[in-house]
Symmetry: C2
Subunit: 245 residues, 2 copies
């Protein structure tokens, strides 16, 4: 019996999120279907984080036990990739300790969020980026982003049904113009509340359009009241980029 | 009565090509449905070229008559974009002569073809580029591409059911490395036979992998025999990029 960890990319467009097994199409459901095809038995898998409907992953980590000793790790990777649907791909697969837990042992998670500010939509990127056709003041957004860094109570930036401890640590928020009309927001943290990254991006967009002053972010965090924060940014711009253990 | 020309982008993934009206989903069918919704009558439209199933367009030109005099050209553009599905978008719309014919009056057509040579697939580009994970010798491909330029009999590079005059003029074939793992093949010509660009790309790939010498292209053109040419490159890498009148 070996435990392995897969680094998985998926296009979230046609999934009802990561978690769940039957009824709706989910990444976990499709992944477990692939495992069952290869190993001829039910194998449960565990992800590093739950992505919502429409949210993508470049580096989700999914761990599972390999029920036989015959296949090499490379064989398992190739076999799974050959039966997984074409919107999920295992980039890497390696053996890990039997005690490995990708959710509780994650030390850092990195999310990327892309905002496309072109005046006309780019249909080829319609499910890959948030089309937000406004000029954004990057310097103001960077100033605002500083307020998110540190260990804080993020009650204002979660969704109502997340009842976990609202204190989270954000290590860094970077705002990068990757091309004339594309902005990448990179958020690094230990763990995140539900919709937290999309709520952060939604409020940074308010600052970028000069609707809000950067200082407003500090006030909203201190209010610990989610009714103060703006609408979430949509799922299509968000990528679960990397997990570090 | 005014004639207008629309410059249209579409994601060809979910279309059975440009041409056709009922039964299967086509770009022309969806475009005419949108016209009927706006103008409350059937309006026929004419494209500059027929793209096959899965082939994209960035600058297809579609002409139609506007049956009323009330709407400005901007109104027509906005109204159509609001009812068109999200994989078709009118980038520009302008009034043209009543005699305008986008197919017969086109002086130059430009196609772009993207080859992604990364060793692993990029699932986010799976319907946008040809994933061909081999090292390509760009210099050899450029040497081969020269043989396509000029007015020639392209019988070896069409599909069997295209019975039109096989003599076509290719003005230029450029091969550009746009990033480490991405190659763009840009083909400019007056008009093209069915599958001609994809057949050209398929044979350039044979040269790029050193399976064929560049000189082989010249021999295949001179053979005027389509059984000599290799398999077509797949549709997902091809974009009908621009038409000049």
């Amino acid at each position: 019996m070996r435990m392995v960890a897969a680094t998985v990319a998926y296009d979230g467009t046609d999934f009802y999120g990561y978690q769940g097994q039957r009824t709706f199409r989910t990444v976990q459901g499709d992944f477990e279907n692939a495992l069952e095809k290869i190993f001829k038995e039910k194998v449960i898998c565990h992800g590093s984080g739950r992505t919502d409907t429409g949210v993508h992953a470049y580096g989700q980590v999914i761990a599972f036990k390999v029920p036989n000793d015959r296949m090499t790790v490379q064989n398992v990777k190739d076999a799974l990739n050959s039966v997984l649907p074409n919107d999920i791909y295992i980039r890497e697969l390696k053996e890990v300790s039997l005690k490995f837990n990708p959710r509780f042992m994650a030390k850092k998670r990195i999310y990327h969020y892309y905002i496309y500010t072109g005046k006309q939509p780019n249909i080829f990127m319609r499910n890959r980026v948030w089309w937000f056709p406004y000029d954004l003041d990057i310097e103001k957004m960077r100033e605002a982003a500083k307020h998110f860094e540190g260990e804080k109570d993020f009650s204002s930036f979660k969704t109502g049904n997340d009842e976990r401890n609202p204190i989270r640590e954000i290590k860094r928020v970077r705002i990068i113009r990757t091309s004339k009309d594309m902005i990448l927001i990179r958020v690094e943290g230990t763990s995140f509340l539900k919709r937290m990254v999309r709520n952060i991006v939604g409020s940074l967009a308010k600052v970028g359009t000069n609707t809000w002053e950067p200082q407003r972010i500090k006030e909203i965090i201190e209010a610990k009241d989610r009714s103060k924060a703006p609408a979430s940014a949509p799922p299509e711009g968000l990528y679960f980029y990397r997990v570090m253990f």
